[in-house]
């Protein structure tokens, strides 16, 4: 008599310690092996795009903050770049330099959260606290500049809301000096730990062809070995004035495109961002940050699609204007939305413990997916 086996459906429900937000994953299991993963999203849907149609163009900026709440500066940056291209405004150079500094500091902060929570999901609780200790210093820098730690409303169309605090440059230089040895400590504790490598190397490999076909971008695409970074390939702002490198995954500990590669690309990206901040801090020109902000924003009829390099990938803004004070359509192309699609392909054939490892390595934020 043959033994009857059944597939089990396990729900990693909307509330779960490691699904990075309110995400529901329906796992179809055969024992411990995954047969299929169906993600269900929409729990954080606030219909931000419909709200934008009722607001004026500057009023949209707090909404863009709240999409990817771990990288708010970059969301505002993207929207400001899109609107400035549509309105054909030239912003002062000081504004561009400060935007780059804020953006790169935000990138470091966002990657610290991603790496810390990834370690905590795998079971190493200590790197989580070390990462957050460093992130606190960045949030303090943001707080003295614009008063908020997480959702800033700082980068406006045509300029910034406040100029830099007098202590900002000194504190940033101290932060840079203290952060480099901390990065080395993180590497010793987590990245090259044999147990961590066994959990993440060769797991959840994303082949390059699949990645491009799905439209994956950012550290996930770079982890698969493709050197594509919008700061160099589709430049915006003053990124072409700085000297930095684009790290890619090389399959050092396993196959190219596995979880360890994606994780390590983020670690190396933090170093590169630190280089950019160092160069920018030393060469900020003087100027007035609010001089180019227009009084009333009424763009000509038309449309534009612009993209910037969010810490999570390619953040695109598609703005259609019909000549009035309110936008006719603001569509946000969120990088995590695209990454969630490829997630079910990554997980097939692995075990339940690997779902957590793979989910942490693709670094999604539900605020972006659901908008």
């Amino acid at each position: 008599m043959a033994l009857k086996t059944e597939e089990m459906v396990l729900n990693m429900g909307p509330q779960h310690p490691s699904t990075h937000g309110v995400l529901r994953l329906e796992l179809q299991l055969d024992g411990e092996i995954i047969i299929d993963v169906v993600p269900h999203i929409g729990y954080l849907h606030r219909c931000f795009e419909k709200h934008c149609e009722a607001m004026t163009y500057p009023q949209v900026i707090p909404y863009t903050d709240r999409m990817d709440y771990l990288a708010s500066m970059y969301n505002e940056f993207g929207y400001a770049v899109a609107m400035e291209r549509l309105l054909k405004i030239e912003v002062p150079e000081r504004v561009e330099y400060i935007r780059v500094i804020m953006g790169e500091l935000q990138r470091i902060a966002s990657h610290l959260v991603a790496l810390g929570t990834y370690g905590a999901d795998i079971g190493a609780f200590t790197p989580f606290l070390f990462c957050f200790r460093d992130r606190e210093r960045i949030l303090h820098l943001f707080e003295i500049t614009c008063g908020a730690r997480l959702l800033y409303n700082y980068i406006w169309i045509g300029g910034l809301s406040h100029d830099l605090h007098p202590d900002f440059i000194r504190l940033t230089k101290e932060f840079i000096k203290d952060f480099r040895p901390n990065l080395k400590e993180l590497n010793d504790l987590l990245s090259f730990n044999q147990i961590f490598i066994e959990r993440t190397a060769n797991v959840g490999v994303l082949p390059l062809e699949t990645a491009i076909n799905y439209g994956v971008s950012g550290p996930n695409l770079r982890g698969s070995g493709f050197k594509w970074d919008l700061r160099k390939d589709d430049p915006y702002s003053v990124y072409n004035k700085f000297d930095y490198d684009i790290p890619i995954g090389t399959g050092e500990k396993g196959k190219v495109g596995d979880c360890w590669d994606r994780y390590f690309v983020r670690v190396k990206e933090m170093e590169e961002s630190l280089k950019i901040v160092e160069q920018a801090i030393d060469t900020i020109p003087d100027g007035d940050v609010t001089s180019a902000i227009p009084k009333r924003i009424k763009p000509p009829e038309g449309q534009i699609y612009t993209r910037v390099e969010n810490p999570r990938g390619e953040l695109g803004y598609f703005i259609i204007s019909d000549g009035s004070l309110n936008p006719a359509r603001v569509k946000v192309r969120a990088p995590s939305f695209v990454t969630m699609q490829v997630f079910s392909e990554l997980c097939k054939g692995w075990m339940v413990a690997d779902v957590v490892a793979i989910l942490g390595s693709v670094d999604i934020v539900l605020g972006e997916i659901d908008r």
């Binding site: 009829e301 695109g316 598609f318 908008r371």
Partner: protein, 176 residues
């Protein structure tokens, strides 16, 4: 690298009537208007042709053009009759570094566009979102259901300009 005019000419000689026009008057992005039922063939050509090689779909968005006639009925409810819904495709090539914008339009009452999911697998969820928010039905889509709203939301399509929130949903009061 090809410009929009060159790509338009190339497409026009291959597909003829399905390529409707190249609009360059509105700022900043020239876009090519294509027939909504031939989009998949056009996109397959765009992806595989040797000097075009559009291998990445950056964005697919639904837009409510709001160009029908606005009718106000007795209760003050404003609906739009006629007019079009559009779907915009933003493509790019990671090898040849050029970008392109396509647009298809479909009627508001019965919106139907052919899916491009077999060409770029990433279009799957983008089209589901366009369906969820605007009601555009994508023919031959493998799994067309709502994605952001609850699966049993039957009160319309939220991003349309004439959408109104219902009073109650499953016993819960909707307007907060």
């Amino acid at each position: 690298m090809k410009t929009a005019e060159e790509i338009f000419n190339k497409l026009k000689e291959k597909f003829g009537s399905s390529i409707i026009e190249l609009k360059t008057d509105k700022p900043l992005e020239p876009f090519i208007l294509v027939n909504r039922l031939e989009v998949d063939k056009i996109c397959l050509f765009l992806r595989d042709e040797r000097d075009l090689l559009f291998d990445s779909l950056m964005n697919l968005s639904g837009v409510d053009d709001a160009n029908g006639e606005k009718i106000k009925d007795e209760t003050g409810l404003e609906t739009i009759n006629g007019g079009t819904l559009s779907v915009y495709y933003h493509l790019e090539s990671t090898n040849l570094r050029h970008k392109l914008t396509l647009k298809t339009s479909t009627e508001r009452e019965k919106p139907e566009v052919v899916t491009v999911t077999e060409i770029w697998k990433g279009a799957n969820w983008h089209e589901r979102e366009a369906y969820d928010m605007y009601g555009v039905v994508f023919l031959n889509h493998p799994d067309l259901r709502r994605i952001l709203m609850p699966y049993d939301w039957e009160f319309g399509y939220p991003l349309r300009k004439d959408y109104k929130n219902p009073e109650f949903y499953q016993g819960m009061k909707v307007p907060y």
